[in-house]
Assembly symmetry: C2
């Protein structure tokens, strides 16, 4: 990780993001100039607005000045709407004046990819850091703030609904896409802010999320972003939001795997960048959505929904076909649609004709036309039950009577404190009623059954995660284990199998026992100590790929076989690597391999230590079936990682194989993750391959730890080698 | 398969679905009655409308009569809007009058699940079959026809755009969901028909699809359906549509696996009902969509798109962020975004500023504001290239200038003959411009990037399928192979391994050689003939599970080992099944098993013979990694089945294993499918398990064919058994 500045405090950013006084600096006298458009946008904002424009100063308006210096005092925020090549000078003048924030519209900086333009941007960064004037941009479209009253932008931005209890704070790295999303205000969503970041020479998406975490009008944060040099700051901002009880919904662009470094070795390469981002978002408690179109819909649901009180979902419709579709998608997204208890069924029956369905999903049928009260009555009956934490109501028609039926449910939502999700099946997408339903704090509106169910699933997982975070705290680090690592790490850039396993053993990972021997007799002694069959392996830091060097013999069942193997291994190894320094041969008991896992990790350039787990063989190599998390993980988090493997059922035993002890496997993964986290600056890559399930027990059979740099000189490393190196 | 009636001819259904004269039969005098609403809907239809209503006949209107009998002649279609218990009598009167079609609104028939109501429906079916009066319903909401001019429904249905060249014909089993989808007419889609089917006592969804296949105004068919007793008729209707060059887009409800029969054995159980439906849709050339919301959007695209001329897609946007999202989703859906050739790049460069991107996806940037012609010029340059078959254009803002920019692309679409897909990123879903874009025959509108890319992928696959169907025809059946089957099938309800493999061999599937022996000496002779190692297996029709009975010994490497195994197998088998009739022991050469597949099939109750293929071991058992198709399949279709397996790469060799000959594997699967198809009425289930890849060659090692019924008596079967049954 690069060293990174910490997040700005909300109070520091308030002059920039919620200014009470603004100076618009513009050199153009055209009516459609960026400065003129900004002044129009701010006309009714309530902020004090000055214009600095040398071409218009002669007009005589008391609020139009020729230079920044003429401002009577430091305004909160300067909007710098001048051409790129004049920006630096204007920004310097603003900083000298004591202005606390500045928004820079001009393009032609780092986004061109050219060195000279990048340098121009770095000058702005330097100015911000030296003067404490926070800069948003360059290449920034501006922001909407204060529930839409403050429109600090040149763009023709949609009117926002003013702040209401369910307001969404939107943060978008892309200005264009941010304003595209803000158009959803047209159909009822309330936004507290629409913050865009542009090139982020100073203030960035992470600062903006952190700012919204402390803003009293923002109830939920929606974040659209592409990537950043130091995304750890975004995670930290997310943690602040979590502490403030605000869900963060994120859609990350640029998820394609094409750009992933192809050079990463084995376990490390299992985790592409998209997977690592996903793991990072999860560690920060973000709710990630896979579609741009889902971002605001999901945020609005979370703003209204509160915490889930039961994972059961009730479904109710006037259309039998719609209830079938709800059931299909619920099954797909693993959302439970439990049957109602008897007393609820009885109530449903009293409202529904015999050709309806007094079950869940409940088909109240078109008789609703003559009996409109039956819909809210059935909804009330279902949501009164502890079995249900939410209600889904597919709604086929966009017309006035249907709207009245939906709004009649508002009171049921309010009284039950459980969200009611209306799914707008009408293809008249903004048709009558949509705005009223979306504006209700008790009704969430979805325009896709699939997305509704995906969101409910995410909501349940979010609830579980929040409940867990209230549980016991993090691990205790073990100084003794760390010392074992420090000692072994002295020996070079790659730890031998033995050394790697000593470290793992110190961290509490069960490892296969072994003895290092330097003669055939000693090998036989060791074998007889362990009991046959045994395995012999060459031990040399210079031969990391033992099998290829003919350095491994399995399933040796007698002293004679051990002697033969001893000689054969030495011959092969010497033939393969004549210059290799051979420490001796390892003797290990041959253990039954019912199932193999691979556990490992590496130092991710963006997120630091990550841990990866997968099933061995075809699973990781062919099916790419692995899960990633930021290290360290707790044993219960490790268990969730295992649960996400497609081949998970193998751990429960398959074709007569004894089941693994999941607690033991989870613990081993957690221990490996702690090792990775404790030595994040030292370990480059770690592989436990395989971690074997043998008769139900978990044991690391082979391991390799590669270090980032040799922390000690070669001479020192030599002295750490085993003393007896006379190999017979 | 139940015997099923064939599809009605379009001409037979025209009086029902496109009547020129209508009689509305209603017993209610209320203004809001179903009959009265229907009459309102038909007011400006151009059809001659009679009302039969005894309560209103006294009003004196010449078009209002008291009884059906009073009608001056047979109208084309009667709309029976009377209560259920009066329906049968009215329907009989209509039939007597010579009326050719009838729509029945009343509910309370088979959908209640009650026997008496089912019987009422059967009476209507019988009437239709006896009189030739085609009946739609009961429990039917009605239809919209003739581009929306004919509104044969009581429902408050949306106005349709009148038929245009790109009209969609919609068929929906559910009336409510059909009308929900028809609301998309509000934003520009043109429908030729909205046909609903209700309980389908006579005319059903399949008849309606077949009708639309021949309707000159319908260009593409969208079909929403839940399920039917005889879906083969729907496939036949689909084939008619394909012959007419009309794509059929289908969304099937009730895809959940819960209802799938759990009792099916092994290979059969690999194919759940949803998978079989999918296979069936594919065989009929349907384009299946997974979301209700995608149905009309996809249909509209196919109506406009024609056939793909290149799989390459060009993307163009004013927003850099949007181009990233397009690239993400293209990668997800395997849609190629190839780079432009040099001459196109040069053209792009001439229109795009340096901070834009003259690549694909192409970012023309917001400079478009000052240079609006650059967008159509870039689009034209890209679509002029053979590299591209379609253009995707994400559109962030719903406002008037943006609309003009999109409509400026219409000419580019028209001139190039390639579809331009506008993706409506604005969250103002029906905002300005949407209707104009959707109404254009050269611009397709999507409201989701994901769906746009999924549709383009489906379009490319559809194009490939259409191109293939123009290729060489179907297989020749082999009478000699069928005779071998007939002979072996005489022996009982389950064929022995030997008999099953003889049949497979006759069909051209490579099988492992074997000899049936009745003494240990003969076993040794056979083994020496094949060469060691060999396998010994018990052969008995009474012991289908040989391994469980101790009836298999592998890897026998000497005469001694063969003798020992011979005795041991006989002892085990006799201990396990004392009454089993043992034919002898099979001797087979032991072949190397690099990879195992399972190929099999069964007689699906809805679709007849299906073939299933999967990789052995964890793949089918744990990961459910199998593919299904209706039998027979051609070798190239079999190859596509293999290509869809998640573990497909194993066939190319893995960890040093030699690659399989894909042509040989595909041929084996095709041959098995022919066997299943040739004897669809006889074979209940067939398993080739395993089909082994051995040193690159494909060979069936074990097989079992279970027959539906014993076609001959037990005595006959006995006489077919091998003569020598003296086992030493």
């Amino acid at each position: 990780m690069t060293s990174s500045r910490s997040l700005y405090h909300a109070a520091e950013l308030r002059p920039l993001l919620q200014p009470r006084s603004v100076a618009i600096v513009d050199f153009s006298s055209k009516p459609g100039s960026f400065g003129a458009r900004t002044a129009q946008n701010l006309a009714d904002s309530g902020a004090e607005v000055w214009v600095v424009n040398p071409k218009r100063a002669a007009e005589g308006s008391p609020k139009v000045l020729a230079t920044v210096e003429e401002l009577p005092g430091p305004v909160d925020c300067a909007i710098i709407a001048v051409p790129r090549d004049a920006v630096q000078e204007v920004a310097q003048a603003c900083a000298r004046k004591g202005i606390r924030g500045a928004i820079v519209y001009a393009s032609g900086y780092a986004e061109t990819g050219q060195a000279e333009h990048r340098r121009l941007q770095e000058q702005l960064t330097a100015l911000a850091r030296q003067t404490g004037m926070h800069i948003l941009g360059p290449n920034c479209i501006g922001i909407l703030s204060d529930g839409g009253r403050l429109r600090l932008t040149f763009a023709e931005a949609p009117e926002l609904q003013h702040a209401r209890p369910v307001s969404i704070g939107l943060v978008s790295q892309s200005g264009g896409l941010g304003l595209a999303l803000a158009q959803s205000a047209r159909h009822g969503y309330a936004f507290s802010h629409v913050l865009t970041a542009g090139n982020s020479c100073d203030v960035d998406v992470a600062d903006q999320v952190a700012y919204l975490a402390e803003d009293p009008h923002c109830k939920v944060i929606a974040c659209l972003f592409e990537g950043m040099a130091d995304p750890q700051r975004l995670l930290e901002a997310g943690r602040r939001a979590a502490r403030a009880g605000k869900p963060v919904i994120v859609h990350k662009l640029a998820t394609g795997e094409e750009g992933t470094q192809a050079a990463m070795s084995h376990t490390g390469s299992l985790a592409g960048s998209a997977a690592v981002y996903r793991a990072a978002f999860e560690s920060a408690g973000f709710i990630e959505v896979d579609d741009f179109e889902a971002l605001i819909e999901t945020a609005a649901f979370f703003a209204k929904a509160g915490r889930p009180r039961s994972p059961g979902v009730a479904a109710l419709s006037t259309s039998g076909g719609a209830t079938i579709m709800v059931a299909d998608k619920a099954e797909l997204h693993q959302v439970a649609l439990p049957q109602p208890p008897a007393e609820v069924t009885a109530l449903l029956r009293s409202h529904i004709p015999e050709f309806g369905s007094a079950r869940n999903p409940c088909d109240v049928t078109a008789q609703i036309l003559g009996n409109p009260q039956s819909l809210p009555e059935c909804a009330r009956a279902m949501l009164a039950s502890d079995v249900y934490g939410a209600l889904v109501l597919p709604h086929p028609y966009a017309y006035a009577p249907g709207t009245q039926r939906l709004l009649a449910l508002e009171a049921v939502g309010r009284d039950s404190g459980k969200p009611i999700c209306c799914v707008w099946l009408s293809q008249w997408l903004d048709g009558p009623g949509a705005i009223e339903v979306e504006a209700s704090p008790h009704l969430a509106l979805f325009r896709s059954i699939d997305r509704c169910m995906a969101t409910l699933r995410a909501w349940h997982l979010y609830g579980q995660r929040m409940a867990r975070q209230a549980g016991p705290g993090s691990r205790l680090s073990d100084p003794a284990a760390a010392q074992v690592f420090a000692k072994e790490a002295g020996a070079g850039t790659t730890l031998t199998e033995s050394a790697s396993k000593r470290v793992l053993g110190a961290y509490g990972v069960p490892v296969v026992p072994e003895r290092l021997v330097q003669s055939a007799n000693a090998a036989v002694d060791a074998a007889e100590g362990f009991g046959y069959p045994v395995v012999l392996k060459v031990q040399s830091a210079d031969i990391p790929h033992k099998t290829e060097a003919g350095g491994v013999r399995l399933d040796l069942r007698s002293g004679e076989a051990v002697r033969d193997a001893y000689r054969a291994i030495l011959d092969s190894a010497r033939a393969h690597s004549p210059d290799a320094r051979i420490d001796g041969l390892l003797v290990q008991p041959m253990i039954r391999r019912d199932l193999e896992l691979i556990v490992g990790g590496r130092r991710d350039p963006l997120f630091g230590p990550i841990v990866v787990v997968g099933l061995g063989g075809i699973f990781v190599e062919l099916l790419k079936d692995s899960t990633v998390a930021l290290a360290p993980v707790s044993p219960s988090q490790a268990r969730e990682m295992l649960d996400r493997l497609r081949g998970r059922a193998l751990l429960d035993g398959f074709r007569g194989m004894p089941a693994a002890d999941i607690g033991e496997v989870s613990a081993a993964v957690a221990r490996v993750s702690e090792l990775l986290a404790d030595h994040a600056d030292t370990i480059d890559e770690l592989d436990v391959n395989p971690l074997v399930i043998s008769d139900g027990r978990t044991v690391a059979v082979d391991a390799l730890i590669a270090l980032r740099t040799a922390p000690v000189s070669v001479d020192d490393a030599e002295s750490q080698r085993p003393q007896a190196t006379h190999i017979t």
